[in-house]
């Protein structure tokens, strides 16, 4: 099936982003929100179409492999959380004094969303790379928006690491083109040679680049600073969406089955190291950032044992982690600084949403975090790797300690003496937090049919 | 003859790249980088890609160098 | 016409050689800049003219002629700007008193 809404999914946010600088400061956030809601509508419509058939579009009328093909498949359903989280982040940021909702800030978010859309629907390796660049450069800009000290340095480190990843991916795409004479993913998959050093280097290079973009354990060093110093609305986008692009890239890599043994170990290392690092953080946002490293490790492990479980988990984790970062942003907003002890006493709604998000992040049923994690555990057991199943459960226990600790810090510690009385977060912050928290539970309740849909 | 030209250009390319990496002075590195781009431009031209060569000359050796110099002038003031 | 390319090409090559020797051997910034300017202007200009003659008649020879005129304008201006900047920075010219 083909529909013009598929290229529109990419074009709408980018067109919206290009037009933002022509607007006044006042209208930029409203415009950004409207454009992202329209994008969300298109993404939902395409997901609905997917129930019957895969959606494919030949750009310019050139049949693949000669032209560029866009394809909306199960992985592309990630477009829905992308549009949702980005749409909720814009109103959330209107209260902060960081330049997220200036025309430039909104433009970066919209174009970055368009880049992610292009990335998830690309069925051509070079298109995948181009849109990876669009979303990466937007991400560097998003980190740089922060007013916090060290944000510039964090963005610069992120830029260096991200550029290395991009170059490795570009070289690998070049090698794949030399080996097969084609760039279309399906076509490349069919024309791959049986072996040889160039093929291994191409697959290994793609995997390494995407693992770096996904911030897997030894390659995660850029992530905590970038995600913790960014404005909270942006952290939700970075941690919920942009690191997942590395995972989607891995899922698109041909011949990944050669690397399963590597992925399983790298994933397990990342799972445990991320959780342990998270345990020793005193700052809520840094803890959340390390918990992302841990969850990415879980997904990478899942890639090797149960791809469906991994796909389900990136969708769920996007929503859960976004809700947690937004709640953290609300605490920090009301506290006026990163010292958030005791803010939860006067913010019961935000605190309860944070607790719900924490439960979902640990993976307790019936929340969304459970479905994917459980499928990966089952996959590991089925593959006879019960040691890895134990590691996943151990990681969940450590993360449970982290979240429990911060709920206690926020809700029961006394506030610092120098802080004035705080109050519940404003409505534009509460509503996005609640929508995401509700979804992170709701997706778990419909988890069974949802997983069946993804697995199809 | 043609292969020899390639070899000479590639050698110069590697030498300028090393010189950029080793340069202590940022402005010198920017200028060496422009020389590197020029070598690359000639190489593209010789490999039969005039479009890429033109881009390399205009963007790589031209605008990028100018922007580097602006930043260096603004930061080391 | 294309025979004219040979003398112009030789002139250009000679100036490039002389300028390169000058660049390596002359004592201070200003005299080296002077050598480089010769190389840029007369050397490159003559070679462009030689190429224009070699490809005459045709569109390309006019384009090369245009480039030669541009070199004639831009080369001296650039070395003037360099020398002026060096002077403003206080780079002292070499004199016969120096070793």
């Amino acid at each position: 099936m083909t529909t013009h809404w598929l290229p529109a999914l990419v074009a709408i946010p980018i067109a919206g982003g290009v037009l933002v600088p022509t607007m006044s400061r006042r209208w930029a956030p409203a415009w950004g929100f409207g454009v992202l809601i329209a994008t969300l509508g298109v993404a939902l419509f395409l997901t609905g179409l997917l129930r019957e058939d895969t959606v494919s579009y030949a750009v310019g009328g050139w049949p693949p492999p000669y032209g560029i093909e866009l394809r909306f498949d199960v992985l592309s359903t990630f477009a829905v959380p992308i549009a949702l989280v980005a749409a909720l982040a814009v109103p959330f940021a209107t209260h902060s004094n960081e330049p997220v909702t200036t025309p430039e800030g909104v433009a970066v978010i919209l174009v970055g969303t368009g880049g992610m859309m292009g990335f998830v629907v690309a069925a051509d390796f070079f298109t995948l790379f181009v849109f990876l660049e669009v979303l990466s450069i937007s991400a560097y800009g998003m980190v740089a928006m922060s007013e916090e000290r060290g944000a510039g340095l964090a963005a610069f480190r992120y830029l260096l690491m991200g550029t290395v990843a991009s170059i490795v991916i570009l070289l690998s795409v070049g090698l794949l083109y030399t080996l097969t004479g084609s760039l279309n993913m399906a076509d490349v998959g069919q024309r791959l040679p049986d072996g040889g050093l160039p093929l291994h280097l191409a697959i290994g290079g793609l995997a390494a680049g995407f693992l770096l973009k996904a911030a897997v354990f030894p390659l995660h060093v850029w992530l905590p600073d970038a995600h913790a110093t960014a404005p909270s609305a942006v952290s939700a986008i970075l941690s919920g969406l942009i690191v997942k692009m590395g995972i989607i890239g891995l899922l698109r890599t041909p011949g990944l089955e050669h690397l399963h043994e590597l992925l399983i170990w790298v994933g397990a290392a990342s799972l445990l190291a991320g959780a342990l690092f998270a345990l020793v953080q005193d700052d809520l946002k840094r803890m959340l950032a390390y918990s992302t490293v841990s969850n990415i490790g879980l997904v990478v492990l899942g890639l090797a044992v149960d791809r469906t479980g991994a796909t389900v988990h990136i969708l769920n984790h996007a929503i859960i982690k976004a809700s947690l970062f937004l709640a953290a942003g609300a605490f920090i907003h009301r506290a006026g600084s990163r010292r958030i002890e005791g803010t939860g006493r006067s913010m019961p709604l935000t605190t309860s949403a944070f607790a719900v998000g924490g439960i979902a992040a640990i993976g307790i049923p019936p929340t969304g975090g459970f479905t994917g994690k459980w499928m990966i555990v089952l996959g590991a057991l089925e593959a006879g790797r019960w040691g890895f199943a134990v590691m996943i459960l151990l990681g969940a226990v450590i993360l449970a300690l982290c979240y429990a600790r911060f709920v206690v810090v926020v809700a029961f510690r006394p506030s610092p003496a120098d802080r004035e009385g705080t109050s519940e977060a404003p409505l534009v912050m509460l509503v996005p937090i609640f929508v995401l928290a509700a979804l992170s539970v709701g997706v778990g309740i419909i988890g069974g049919p949802f997983a069946a849909f993804v697995g199809k | 003859m043609s292969e020899l030209f390639d070899v000479v250009l590639l050698t110069l390319l590697i030498l300028t790249a090393l010189a950029v990496a080793r340069a202590r002075d940022l402005a010198a590195a920017a200028i060496l980088f422009a020389a590197y781009s020029l070598m690359l431009c000639l190489l593209w031209l010789h490999r039969g890609a005039p479009d890429v060569a033109l881009t390399e000359a205009a963007v790589g050796a031209g605008v990028t160098t100018l922007l580097f110099l602006v930043v260096i002038a603004r930061t080391s003031r | 016409m294309s025979l004219l390319a040979i003398p112009f090409g030789l002139i250009g090559a000679f100036f490039f050689l002389a300028a390169t020797i000058g660049l390596l051997r002359l004592p201070d910034f200003y005299s080296r800049a002077h050598a480089a300017a010769k190389c840029d202007t007369v050397g490159a200009g003559s070679i462009l003219l030689a190429l224009a003659f070699a490809l005459c008649p045709g569109l390309a020879s006019f384009q090369l002629l245009g480039l030669a005129i541009l070199i004639l304008i831009a080369g001296p201006t650039a070395s003037h700007a360099l020398a002026r900047a060096a002077d403003r920075r206080g780079v002292a010219p070499w004199t016969t008193d120096d070793p």
């Binding site: 750009v59 181009v130 800009g141 030399t178 050093l197 | 033109l54 100018l66 603004r74 | 003037h80």
Partner: protein
């Protein structure tokens, strides 16, 4: 980074890459997949006149070029976000009268050449991005000589926010027009030669003008930061 570590890292990266290069099919041998599959189709059924590179960039792989133009745009916007702490740019030191005269003299010619490169890209090597770099470089040159304030006065004031997005916007317009004319987004109507030519020209001009303004604004943002 520790220089020895860096050297070891680069060597570790370079050795397998060089080995893979050696294992690749020899450059230029005609029976390799790179020459027999998609590329041959482009050469055989591409346009008979004009620049094949431009045809591939704007037509077969128009979506990628659109993405690349968006990359340049978002690069500018990201720098503008970073460079928001404004300090007024320094006025230029009084320029040498010779340099000032020559730059005034050549500016219109370089501008003409820039537009020539943008539009002649359809026939000979050249095109929007290369022309954009020439025009942007011209603005930066004027800024170097006469100061950033003068360079700013060369840009279109009120139209600037629209024109700096001209690249992506031209692509979007071509995508919609092509979609109506051919039924596929970013399709070029070969059965309507005049419209086809106009669309290609429009996209090249959009990339060129938008790109030139992006390069100029990058320069001004860096001067102001």
């Amino acid at each position: 980074m520790n220089p020895r570590l860096a050297a070891a890292f680069v060597t570790g990266l370079a050795v397998p890459m060089l080995a893979a290069m050696a294992a690749l099919p020899r450059h230029g041998s005609p029976d390799q997949p790179i020459h027999t599959h998609v590329a041959r189709e482009y050469i055989e059924s591409g346009p008979e006149t004009g620049n094949l590179v431009t045809a591939i960039l704007l037509d077969y792989r128009g979506m990628d070029t659109f993405g690349e133009v968006v990359v340049i745009f978002v690069g500018l916007v990201a720098v503008l976000v970073l460079a928001r702490h404004r300090e007024p740019a320094l006025p230029a030191a009084s320029p040498s009268p010779i340099v000032a005269f020559i730059v005034r003299l050549v500016t219109p010619f370089i501008a003409l050449f820039g537009f020539h490169v943008i539009l002649s890209g359809l026939e000979v090597p050249g095109g929007g991005l290369q022309g954009a770099a020439i025009l942007g470089g011209l603005v930066i040159l004027n800024g170097f000589v006469f100061g950033p304030q003068h360079a700013r006065s060369l840009l279109p004031g009120r139209l600037l926010p629209w024109l700096q997005g001209a690249g992506p916007l031209a692509f979007l317009a071509a995508g919609i027009v092509g979609g109506i004319a051919t039924g596929f987004a970013l399709g070029y109507p070969t059965h309507l030669p005049l419209l086809h030519e106009a669309m290609l020209m429009g996209v090249e001009l959009g990339i060129g003008i938008g790109g030139a303004l992006i390069f100029s604004r990058l320069y001004l943002a860096l001067e102001d930061a």
